[in-house]
Symmetry: C2
Amino acid sequence: MNDKTNLASIITIGDELLIGQTIDTNSAWMAQKLNAIGIWVHRRVAVGDGWDDIWTSLNEESAHSSIILITGGLGPTADDITKPLLCSYFGGSMITDPGALANVKHIFEIVLKRPMLDRNLRQADVPDVCTVIQNSRGTAPGMWFEKNGVIFVSMPGVPHEMKGMMEKDVLPSLQSRFQLPPVHHRTLLTAGIGESFLAERIKDFESALPENIKLAYLPNYGMVRLRLTGRGNDPDLDGEVDRQFQQLKDQVADVLVIDSDRTMQDVVGGLLREKKWTLATAESCTGGYLAHLLTSIPGSSDYYLGGVVSYANSVKTGMLGVASELISTHGAVSRETVEQMAIGVMRKLGADLAISTSGIMGPGGGSTEKPVGTVWIAVAYHDKVASQHFSFRFNRERNIELTAQNGLNMLRKMILSA
Amino acid sequence: MNDKTNLASIITIGDELLIGQTIDTNSAWMAQKLNAIGIWVHRRVAVGDGWDDIWTSLNEESAHSSIILITGGLGPTADDITKPLLCSYFGGSMITDPGALANVKHIFEIVLKRPMLDRNLRQADVPDVCTVIQNSRGTAPGMWFEKNGVIFVSMPGVPHEMKGMMEKDVLPSLQSRFQLPPVHHRTLLTAGIGESFLAERIKDFESALPENIKLAYLPNYGMVRLRLTGRGNDPDLDGEVDRQFQQLKDQVADVLVIDSDRTMQDVVGGLLREKKWTLATAESCTGGYLAHLLTSIPGSSDYYLGGVVSYANSVKTGMLGVASELISTHGAVSRETVEQMAIGVMRKLGADLAISTSGIMGPGGGSTEKPVGTVWIAVAYHDKVASQHFSFRFNRERNIELTAQNGLNMLRKMILSA
């Protein structure tokens, strides 16, 4: 057994996670935040709403880790058994917390303006052996327990409630409690080279890395992220990670997209903001997903004007000015059509740049000539147009994602070369 | 300790899951599929790329479950240690599998048309104590081990590769191997009632449920899913779950959206297909996300024509025909503007129905009069228009999702009442 200092486990509670009805996004967020303050989440466990399963996981994880963060199982309904279990596990009795009670009343009377039920009031009940963490975004309070030198924190599973508690209380408390050696990450993104070829190219670099710095390959959507992680108390570690990262960047310079852990839409948005250029989109096969990625960035209205989702051919001709003879001659999925779509939306919206997509995402709609996964993407900047053909071979969801990511990368290159 | 028959654990391997760089979507999919054939996933564990962590998790999970499904850690690069570990754990030696080798060669020579590296060939190496599961979608084979009556299956972490193996090999093998009592789920979706009020309304129903049927509350985006789950070998269980489900439906009839586990975009798409009506979208604050949800459904081009992402006001006036005086008088986020947007896009695209959104998603852009979370949504059907005001109080991502879900629900009601 390793020394468990600064090691954390995350336990998520709820049958919905086990029957696959809900995807757990909390754990990734929590791990990121903990990591940044030097706590290493080495185990994540999901268990159902069963008494024995939860009890066992508390026992097991406290043998592995000194910090156990628990989410879920605190709702007002009868399938939630976490609170009575924690009360019994830590040997307390239930009392009403005045702060939590005031919060529940405030939320119902002032925010929701709705009558309260007895079960809402009971959300303010907590075991008398915990420190209460107030919930500024909901009715269920968090609870901080300690037992045999292990810290247990129970929080609601609702993401924005959990995030509020973590940022306001839990992370600062953990930081003030432990001497935490920071974890140093540097991440870069490459495009256009496979994982194994990348590995072959940088194998000498990798084998020469000092023991306290690790390299990881994170392939995703035709791109590969490379991450260096330095851990430990060496005061020069941050500098050493920097120096190694510079070497790594030099070795992958020709396939480097960006030397930080940012999304493509964030990189493109940053470039547009810098150049003060505006962008428009004309999407057929991506069906609004490109616009969604672009507008998921706060402040994107500064450079993104909008666009057209031209799913039907009548929208390509009517709203974007694509000639209908061109579609009948070359097809909707063709270089000619996507280029006209990009030029059309750029002119109609008066944007500096435009991107357009047309393709067959599947499962239906493919032919021998143009099978599922056939995609054309065009990018335009004033009088320059570039287009590219892709053949993806996956399911609808992945084909849409790949088209969007490759399109954003084409846009990035167009901006850099324009 | 419970009897572990028909109980499964999922182990996911990879530091990227623990530092929060990747969200695990595999486990939810696997749990759903296993559940459908009567295998209950009662634990999911994520561990990093460390030898001891993986080894410990194999020991622990085999004490909890008779089926252990493992994903990740099988890539061609040096941070992957799973295969040698499994070889040592099950006491085998590495051999080259001829089928897997032929597959790797096929993929490089025929599909990728790229030269092969030694590390690609080594993907065909497997411990001689496993049954190989061929990977039709990638280079890393899966491996099936058995030890002390426990089955261990190791698969790649790439979702579409894992899914291919599960569907073609793993699920059929598990089904033929065990006598599996089916799990019966019935799910319905409610909107417009809080979790605690719903619980209060159906508490007598819930407490009268037979022991082998459980009720769960799954709140999400302002709606609550209710799920009945029946487990066990009672031959009439399926019928009993049906009868209970009918009772439940009667009790929530006024807030019922749909009596199956479907997404709102799927429900709306089904209604449009049935009515043979076409739909157009005009999105400001949702920035293409509504279009994306609609077009994520295969075959949506049968009823969805397309739309306009009118992020800038100039696009609202230029492409949708919203009068600029109307925007300057009432603002872009107003009943007047969203109604004109919906009518405008419906006319321009010649659609039967339209939906439009305008709001302030945050974190910036709010004012005292119109704080972050202020949203207007309109739906139109020929000469009928309905609009509604919402106040969300969350972060950008959640505000966008809530706007889209509430918009789809308004669209659903408009279709049903038109």
